[in-house]
Amino acid sequence: MTRYDVRSHEESIELLPWLVNNTLRGDEREAVEAHAKSCIVCRRELAELEALRESVQAASATVPAPDMRHINARIDTQLDRESRGRYLLEGLRDFFSSPWRAAFAAQSLALVAVAAMLMQSGTGEPQFRTLTTTESLPEGHYLRVVFDPSLEQATIDGLLADAGLAVAAGPSERGVLTLRFAEAADDADRSAVAATLRSDPRVLFLQPVATGD
Protein backbone atom coordinates (compact mmCIF):
# COMPACT_ATOMS: atom_id res chain seq x y z
CA MET A 1 0.00 0.00 0.00
CA THR A 2 1.21 3.49 -0.73
CA ARG A 3 2.08 5.97 1.95
CA TYR A 4 -1.13 7.94 1.23
CA ASP A 5 -3.78 5.46 2.26
CA VAL A 6 -7.08 5.92 0.47
CA ARG A 7 -9.40 4.42 3.03
CA SER A 8 -12.58 4.49 1.05
CA HIS A 9 -14.08 4.80 -2.37
CA GLU A 10 -15.53 8.16 -1.29
CA GLU A 11 -12.08 9.52 -0.51
CA SER A 12 -10.82 8.37 -3.87
CA ILE A 13 -13.70 9.67 -5.93
CA GLU A 14 -13.55 13.11 -4.38
CA LEU A 15 -9.90 13.44 -5.42
CA LEU A 16 -10.50 12.36 -9.03
CA PRO A 17 -10.94 15.92 -10.36
CA TRP A 18 -7.40 16.70 -9.30
CA LEU A 19 -6.06 13.41 -10.62
CA VAL A 20 -7.43 14.59 -13.96
CA ASN A 21 -5.75 17.98 -13.75
CA ASN A 22 -2.53 16.32 -12.60
CA THR A 23 -2.11 18.22 -9.37
CA LEU A 24 -2.31 15.45 -6.78
CA ARG A 25 0.83 14.87 -4.77
CA GLY A 26 2.81 11.77 -5.66
CA ASP A 27 1.54 9.55 -2.85
CA GLU A 28 -2.02 10.76 -3.27
CA ARG A 29 -1.91 10.20 -7.00
CA GLU A 30 -0.55 6.68 -6.61
CA ALA A 31 -3.23 5.77 -4.08
CA VAL A 32 -6.10 7.15 -6.14
CA GLU A 33 -4.81 5.54 -9.33
CA ALA A 34 -4.45 2.23 -7.56
CA HIS A 35 -8.02 2.45 -6.33
CA ALA A 36 -9.36 3.51 -9.73
CA LYS A 37 -7.75 0.49 -11.41
CA SER A 38 -9.97 -1.80 -9.44
CA CYS A 39 -13.08 0.42 -9.31
CA ILE A 40 -15.31 0.62 -12.34
CA VAL A 41 -17.27 3.56 -10.91
CA CYS A 42 -14.11 5.61 -10.48
CA ARG A 43 -12.91 4.72 -13.98
CA ARG A 44 -16.22 5.88 -15.45
CA GLU A 45 -16.05 9.03 -13.38
CA LEU A 46 -12.51 9.63 -14.60
CA ALA A 47 -13.66 9.43 -18.20
CA GLU A 48 -16.42 11.96 -17.55
CA LEU A 49 -14.07 14.31 -15.77
CA GLU A 50 -11.57 14.07 -18.59
CA ALA A 51 -14.35 15.04 -21.02
CA LEU A 52 -15.28 17.93 -18.77
CA ARG A 53 -11.68 19.11 -18.58
CA GLU A 54 -11.31 18.98 -22.36
CA SER A 55 -14.53 20.90 -22.86
CA VAL A 56 -13.62 23.56 -20.32
CA GLN A 57 -10.22 24.03 -21.91
CA ALA A 58 -11.52 23.86 -25.47
CA ALA A 59 -12.68 27.44 -25.56
CA SER A 60 -10.05 29.98 -24.87
CA ALA A 61 -10.20 33.66 -25.51
CA THR A 62 -7.58 35.46 -27.51
CA VAL A 63 -5.51 37.29 -24.96
CA PRO A 64 -4.63 40.86 -25.87
CA ALA A 65 -1.04 41.97 -25.54
CA PRO A 66 -0.22 43.45 -22.13
CA ASP A 67 -0.96 47.15 -22.11
CA MET A 68 0.21 48.85 -18.96
CA ARG A 69 -0.72 52.40 -19.85
CA HIS A 70 -3.81 52.52 -17.65
CA ILE A 71 -2.32 50.80 -14.67
CA ASN A 72 0.84 52.89 -14.93
CA ALA A 73 -1.30 56.02 -14.84
CA ARG A 74 -3.04 54.75 -11.71
CA ILE A 75 0.28 53.95 -10.10
CA ASP A 76 1.65 57.39 -11.01
CA THR A 77 -1.37 59.00 -9.35
CA GLN A 78 -0.99 56.85 -6.26
CA LEU A 79 2.74 57.50 -5.96
CA ASP A 80 2.15 61.22 -6.41
CA ARG A 81 -0.42 61.17 -3.60
CA GLU A 82 1.95 59.21 -1.39
CA SER A 83 4.86 61.55 -2.05
CA ARG A 84 2.73 64.58 -1.25
CA GLY A 85 1.74 63.04 2.06
CA ARG A 86 5.34 62.14 2.76
CA TYR A 87 6.48 65.68 1.88
CA LEU A 88 3.98 67.10 4.36
CA LEU A 89 5.13 64.72 7.09
CA GLU A 90 8.78 65.48 6.43
CA GLY A 91 8.02 69.19 6.50
CA LEU A 92 6.35 68.86 9.88
CA ARG A 93 9.21 66.72 11.14
CA ASP A 94 11.75 69.31 9.98
CA PHE A 95 9.76 72.10 11.55
CA PHE A 96 9.60 70.43 14.92
CA SER A 97 13.23 69.35 14.82
CA SER A 98 14.19 72.87 16.00
CA PRO A 99 13.55 73.35 19.77
CA TRP A 100 12.69 77.00 19.19
CA ARG A 101 10.04 76.11 16.64
CA ALA A 102 8.69 73.40 18.87
CA ALA A 103 8.49 75.87 21.74
CA PHE A 104 6.77 78.38 19.49
CA ALA A 105 4.27 75.79 18.38
CA ALA A 106 3.63 74.75 21.98
CA GLN A 107 3.13 78.35 22.99
CA SER A 108 0.74 78.97 20.12
CA LEU A 109 -1.18 75.88 21.08
CA ALA A 110 -1.38 77.07 24.69
CA LEU A 111 -2.63 80.48 23.56
CA VAL A 112 -5.29 78.91 21.42
CA ALA A 113 -6.35 76.76 24.36
CA VAL A 114 -6.56 79.75 26.70
CA ALA A 115 -8.52 81.73 24.12
CA ALA A 116 -10.90 78.83 23.72
CA MET A 117 -11.36 78.57 27.48
CA LEU A 118 -12.03 82.29 27.75
CA MET A 119 -14.52 82.16 24.94
CA GLN A 120 -16.23 79.24 26.58
CA SER A 121 -16.41 80.92 29.98
CA GLY A 122 -17.72 84.03 28.26
CA THR A 123 -20.55 82.16 26.75
CA GLY A 124 -21.49 80.45 30.01
CA GLU A 125 -23.33 83.41 31.48
CA PRO A 126 -23.93 86.23 29.04
CA GLN A 127 -23.32 89.70 30.43
CA PHE A 128 -24.73 92.75 28.68
CA ARG A 129 -24.15 96.42 29.41
CA THR A 130 -26.28 98.91 27.55
CA LEU A 131 -25.95 102.65 27.45
CA THR A 132 -28.74 102.90 30.01
CA THR A 133 -27.28 100.44 32.48
CA THR A 134 -26.81 102.19 35.80
CA GLU A 135 -26.06 99.51 38.37
CA SER A 136 -22.60 100.84 39.23
CA LEU A 137 -23.50 104.52 39.34
CA PRO A 138 -24.41 106.44 42.51
CA GLU A 139 -27.88 107.90 42.67
CA GLY A 140 -28.27 110.93 40.44
CA HIS A 141 -28.73 112.19 36.87
CA TYR A 142 -26.28 111.42 34.10
CA LEU A 143 -25.73 111.70 30.42
CA ARG A 144 -24.23 109.03 28.19
CA VAL A 145 -22.35 110.84 25.49
CA VAL A 146 -20.21 109.92 22.54
CA PHE A 147 -18.05 112.71 21.15
CA ASP A 148 -16.54 112.88 17.71
CA PRO A 149 -13.41 110.71 18.06
CA SER A 150 -11.31 113.35 16.29
CA LEU A 151 -11.84 115.78 19.19
CA GLU A 152 -8.87 116.42 21.39
CA GLN A 153 -9.18 115.82 25.09
CA ALA A 154 -8.77 119.53 25.86
CA THR A 155 -11.72 120.42 23.66
CA ILE A 156 -13.87 117.82 25.38
CA ASP A 157 -12.80 119.09 28.76
CA GLY A 158 -13.81 122.61 27.69
CA LEU A 159 -17.22 121.47 26.48
CA LEU A 160 -17.86 119.60 29.74
CA ALA A 161 -16.78 122.57 31.81
CA ASP A 162 -19.07 124.92 29.88
CA ALA A 163 -22.00 122.56 30.38
CA GLY A 164 -21.32 121.98 34.10
CA LEU A 165 -20.68 118.24 33.58
CA ALA A 166 -18.05 115.96 35.04
CA VAL A 167 -16.92 112.51 33.91
CA ALA A 168 -18.47 109.86 36.14
CA ALA A 169 -17.28 106.85 34.14
CA GLY A 170 -15.69 105.95 30.84
CA PRO A 171 -14.85 106.22 28.19
CA SER A 172 -15.99 102.67 27.40
CA GLU A 173 -14.59 100.54 24.58
CA ARG A 174 -17.01 102.24 22.24
CA GLY A 175 -16.07 105.74 23.47
CA VAL A 176 -19.12 106.29 25.68
CA LEU A 177 -18.62 108.81 28.48
CA THR A 178 -20.94 108.83 31.48
CA LEU A 179 -21.29 112.41 32.61
CA ARG A 180 -22.60 113.63 35.91
CA PHE A 181 -24.57 116.90 36.29
CA ALA A 182 -23.61 119.45 38.87
CA GLU A 183 -25.45 118.84 42.12
CA ALA A 184 -27.33 122.12 41.90
CA ALA A 185 -28.80 121.46 38.48
CA ASP A 186 -32.53 121.00 38.32
CA ASP A 187 -34.65 119.37 35.65
CA ALA A 188 -34.76 122.53 33.52
CA ASP A 189 -31.00 122.96 33.69
CA ARG A 190 -30.42 119.32 32.76
CA SER A 191 -32.84 119.57 29.82
CA ALA A 192 -31.15 122.72 28.57
CA VAL A 193 -27.67 121.16 28.80
CA ALA A 194 -28.86 118.08 27.01
CA ALA A 195 -30.48 120.15 24.26
CA THR A 196 -27.34 122.24 23.79
CA LEU A 197 -25.11 119.17 23.48
CA ARG A 198 -27.53 117.43 21.11
CA SER A 199 -27.37 120.40 18.80
CA ASP A 200 -23.58 120.32 18.78
CA PRO A 201 -22.37 118.42 15.66
CA ARG A 202 -19.36 117.14 17.59
CA VAL A 203 -21.70 115.11 19.84
CA LEU A 204 -22.52 111.92 18.02
CA PHE A 205 -24.76 110.40 20.63
CA LEU A 206 -26.51 111.53 23.82
CA GLN A 207 -28.76 109.67 26.21
CA PRO A 208 -30.00 110.95 29.64
CA VAL A 209 -29.86 108.35 32.42
CA ALA A 210 -31.26 108.61 35.94
CA THR A 211 -30.49 106.32 38.87
CA GLY A 212 -32.35 105.95 42.15
CA ASP A 213 -35.61 107.61 41.02
Binding site: E14, L15, P17, W18, V20, N21, N22, T23, L24, V41, R44, E45, A47, E48, L49, E50, A51, L52, R53, E54, S55, V56, Q57, A58, A59, S60, A61, T62, V63, P64, P66, D67, M68, H70, I71, R74, I75, Q78, L79
Partner: protein
Protein backbone atom coordinates in the same frame (compact mmCIF):
# COMPACT_ATOMS: atom_id res chain seq x y z
CA UNK B 1 -3.32 16.30 -18.73
CA UNK B 2 -1.83 19.65 -19.35
CA UNK B 3 -3.08 22.79 -17.73
CA UNK B 4 -3.79 25.33 -20.37
CA UNK B 5 -3.95 28.36 -18.15
CA UNK B 6 -2.48 27.05 -14.99
CA UNK B 7 1.23 27.38 -14.98
CA UNK B 8 0.91 27.21 -11.23
CA UNK B 9 4.35 26.90 -9.86
CA UNK B 10 5.44 29.74 -7.66
CA UNK B 11 9.08 30.19 -8.31
CA UNK B 12 11.48 31.91 -6.01
CA UNK B 13 11.74 34.63 -8.59
CA UNK B 14 8.03 35.41 -8.24
CA UNK B 15 8.46 35.84 -4.51
CA UNK B 16 11.47 38.00 -5.19
CA UNK B 17 9.51 40.04 -7.68
CA UNK B 18 6.73 40.57 -5.15
CA UNK B 19 9.25 41.57 -2.50
CA UNK B 20 10.64 44.08 -4.98
CA UNK B 21 7.13 45.41 -5.59
CA UNK B 22 6.87 46.07 -1.85
CA UNK B 23 9.93 48.28 -2.34
CA UNK B 24 8.08 50.07 -5.15
CA UNK B 25 10.20 48.52 -7.90
CA UNK B 26 8.20 49.23 -11.03
CA UNK B 27 10.32 47.01 -13.24
CA UNK B 28 9.55 44.06 -10.98
CA UNK B 29 5.88 44.95 -11.11
CA UNK B 30 5.98 45.14 -14.91
CA UNK B 31 7.48 41.66 -15.01
CA UNK B 32 4.76 40.32 -12.72
CA UNK B 33 2.16 42.05 -14.83
CA UNK B 34 3.48 40.49 -18.03
CA UNK B 35 3.53 37.08 -16.35
CA UNK B 36 0.02 37.20 -14.94
CA UNK B 37 -1.89 39.30 -17.44
CA UNK B 38 -2.52 36.39 -19.89
CA UNK B 39 -3.49 33.97 -17.12
CA UNK B 40 -5.76 36.45 -15.37
CA UNK B 41 -7.32 37.57 -18.63
CA UNK B 42 -8.08 33.98 -19.63
CA UNK B 43 -9.56 33.20 -16.24
CA UNK B 44 -11.62 36.38 -15.89
CA UNK B 45 -12.78 36.18 -19.49
CA UNK B 46 -14.71 33.09 -18.41
CA UNK B 47 -16.99 35.30 -16.35
CA UNK B 48 -17.35 38.51 -18.29
CA UNK B 49 -18.57 38.95 -21.83
CA UNK B 50 -16.99 42.30 -22.58
CA UNK B 51 -13.23 42.08 -23.30
CA UNK B 52 -12.75 45.71 -22.32
CA UNK B 53 -14.33 45.04 -18.94
CA UNK B 54 -12.07 42.02 -18.51
CA UNK B 55 -9.00 44.15 -19.18
CA UNK B 56 -10.24 46.62 -16.58
CA UNK B 57 -10.68 43.84 -14.03
CA UNK B 58 -7.20 42.50 -14.78
CA UNK B 59 -5.84 45.99 -14.11
CA UNK B 60 -7.89 46.18 -10.91
CA UNK B 61 -6.39 42.89 -9.74
CA UNK B 62 -2.85 43.93 -10.57
CA UNK B 63 -3.33 47.33 -8.95
CA UNK B 64 -4.25 45.50 -5.73
CA UNK B 65 -1.05 43.49 -6.18
CA UNK B 66 0.85 46.76 -6.41
CA UNK B 67 -0.79 48.40 -3.41
CA UNK B 68 -1.08 45.34 -1.15
CA UNK B 69 2.08 43.42 -1.97
CA UNK B 70 3.25 43.84 1.63
CA UNK B 71 0.19 41.85 2.78
CA UNK B 72 1.51 38.70 1.10
CA UNK B 73 2.74 36.56 3.99
CA UNK B 74 4.21 33.74 1.98
CA UNK B 75 1.85 31.12 3.38
CA UNK B 76 0.61 30.29 -0.10
CA UNK B 77 2.05 30.50 -3.58
CA UNK B 78 2.22 33.92 -5.18
CA UNK B 79 -0.09 32.64 -7.90
CA UNK B 80 -2.67 31.56 -5.29
CA UNK B 81 -2.50 34.98 -3.67
CA UNK B 82 -2.94 36.81 -6.97
CA UNK B 83 -5.67 34.47 -8.15
CA UNK B 84 -7.35 34.90 -4.76
CA UNK B 85 -7.71 38.58 -5.59
CA UNK B 86 -8.99 37.70 -9.06
CA UNK B 87 -11.34 35.09 -7.56
CA UNK B 88 -13.11 37.73 -5.51
CA UNK B 89 -13.34 40.01 -8.53
CA UNK B 90 -14.75 37.12 -10.57
CA UNK B 91 -17.32 36.34 -7.89
CA UNK B 92 -18.40 39.96 -7.98
CA UNK B 93 -18.63 39.71 -11.76
CA UNK B 94 -20.73 36.58 -11.56
CA UNK B 95 -23.10 38.18 -9.09
CA UNK B 96 -23.49 41.40 -11.08
CA UNK B 97 -25.66 39.91 -13.71
CA UNK B 98 -26.73 43.24 -15.09
CA UNK B 99 -23.27 44.26 -16.12
CA UNK B 100 -21.62 40.93 -16.69
CA UNK B 101 -23.53 38.87 -19.16
CA UNK B 102 -23.05 35.24 -20.01
CA UNK B 103 -19.42 34.84 -20.91
CA UNK B 104 -17.67 32.94 -23.67
CA UNK B 105 -20.34 31.39 -25.75
CA UNK B 106 -20.87 32.58 -29.30
CA UNK B 107 -18.10 35.11 -28.83
CA UNK B 108 -15.43 32.48 -28.33
CA UNK B 109 -12.49 33.69 -30.34
CA UNK B 110 -10.66 30.42 -30.69
CA UNK B 111 -11.55 26.82 -30.14
CA UNK B 112 -9.22 23.90 -29.99
CA UNK B 113 -10.18 21.79 -33.02
CA UNK B 114 -8.87 18.68 -31.36
CA UNK B 115 -11.49 18.67 -28.67
CA UNK B 116 -15.16 18.75 -29.38
CA UNK B 117 -17.35 20.81 -31.61
CA UNK B 118 -18.44 24.40 -31.15
CA UNK B 119 -21.80 23.01 -30.09
CA UNK B 120 -20.13 21.05 -27.31
CA UNK B 121 -18.28 24.14 -26.17
CA UNK B 122 -21.50 26.08 -26.05
CA UNK B 123 -23.13 23.22 -24.21
CA UNK B 124 -20.44 23.05 -21.55
CA UNK B 125 -20.59 26.79 -21.00
CA UNK B 126 -24.33 26.68 -20.73
CA UNK B 127 -23.87 24.00 -18.09
CA UNK B 128 -21.24 26.01 -16.23
CA UNK B 129 -23.47 29.06 -16.35
CA UNK B 130 -26.10 27.01 -14.54
CA UNK B 131 -23.85 26.44 -11.55
CA UNK B 132 -23.70 28.62 -8.48
CA UNK B 133 -20.76 31.05 -8.48
CA UNK B 134 -18.83 29.08 -5.84
CA UNK B 135 -19.35 25.76 -7.61
CA UNK B 136 -18.45 27.19 -10.98
CA UNK B 137 -15.29 28.71 -9.56
CA UNK B 138 -14.08 25.32 -8.37
CA UNK B 139 -14.58 23.85 -11.84
CA UNK B 140 -12.86 26.76 -13.58
CA UNK B 141 -9.97 26.91 -11.16
CA UNK B 142 -9.46 23.15 -11.46
CA UNK B 143 -9.87 22.61 -15.16
CA UNK B 144 -9.21 25.95 -16.78
CA UNK B 145 -6.52 27.22 -14.44
CA UNK B 146 -5.19 23.86 -13.29
CA UNK B 147 -4.93 24.54 -9.58
CA UNK B 148 -4.69 21.83 -6.93
CA UNK B 149 -7.39 21.62 -4.29
CA UNK B 150 -5.00 23.08 -1.70
CA UNK B 151 -4.33 26.04 -3.97
CA UNK B 152 -8.04 26.52 -4.58
CA UNK B 153 -8.63 26.51 -0.83
CA UNK B 154 -6.02 29.26 -0.52
CA UNK B 155 -7.54 31.20 -3.41
CA UNK B 156 -11.10 30.92 -2.12
CA UNK B 157 -9.95 31.33 1.50
CA UNK B 158 -11.86 28.28 2.67
CA UNK B 159 -11.01 24.84 4.09
CA UNK B 160 -9.83 22.11 1.75
CA UNK B 161 -12.90 20.02 2.57
CA UNK B 162 -15.11 22.87 1.42
CA UNK B 163 -13.37 22.79 -1.95
CA UNK B 164 -13.94 19.06 -2.24
CA UNK B 165 -17.57 19.44 -1.24
CA UNK B 166 -18.13 22.22 -3.77
CA UNK B 167 -16.55 20.10 -6.47
CA UNK B 168 -18.76 17.17 -5.53
CA UNK B 169 -21.92 19.27 -5.82
CA UNK B 170 -20.71 20.94 -9.01
CA UNK B 171 -20.12 17.56 -10.64
CA UNK B 172 -23.50 16.29 -9.56
CA UNK B 173 -25.18 19.39 -10.90
CA UNK B 174 -23.28 19.18 -14.20
CA UNK B 175 -24.42 15.58 -14.65
CA UNK B 176 -27.95 16.89 -14.61
CA UNK B 177 -27.20 19.88 -16.82
CA UNK B 178 -24.97 18.09 -19.30
CA UNK B 179 -26.26 14.59 -19.82
CA UNK B 180 -25.54 14.71 -23.53
CA UNK B 181 -21.92 15.66 -23.09
CA UNK B 182 -21.34 13.03 -20.44
CA UNK B 183 -23.13 10.41 -22.51
CA UNK B 184 -21.14 11.11 -25.67
CA UNK B 185 -17.78 11.24 -24.02
CA UNK B 186 -18.02 8.20 -21.78
CA UNK B 187 -17.93 4.67 -22.97
CA UNK B 188 -20.49 3.28 -20.64
CA UNK B 189 -22.94 6.09 -20.04
CA UNK B 190 -23.60 8.18 -16.99
CA UNK B 191 -26.58 6.14 -15.83
CA UNK B 192 -24.32 3.54 -14.37
CA UNK B 193 -22.64 6.09 -12.08
Amino acid sequence: MSNEAGNRTTTTSERELLAAVVRRDRNAFAELYRTYQPRLYGYLRRFAANPVVVEEIVDDVMFVVWTDARKFRGKSAVSSWIFGIAYRKALTALRREGRYEAPLRRDVETADPRSGSQADIELIHAGLAGLSPDHRQVIELTYFCGFSYEEIAAIADCPVNTVKTRMFHARRRLKVLLPRLAGEKTEQGRDQV
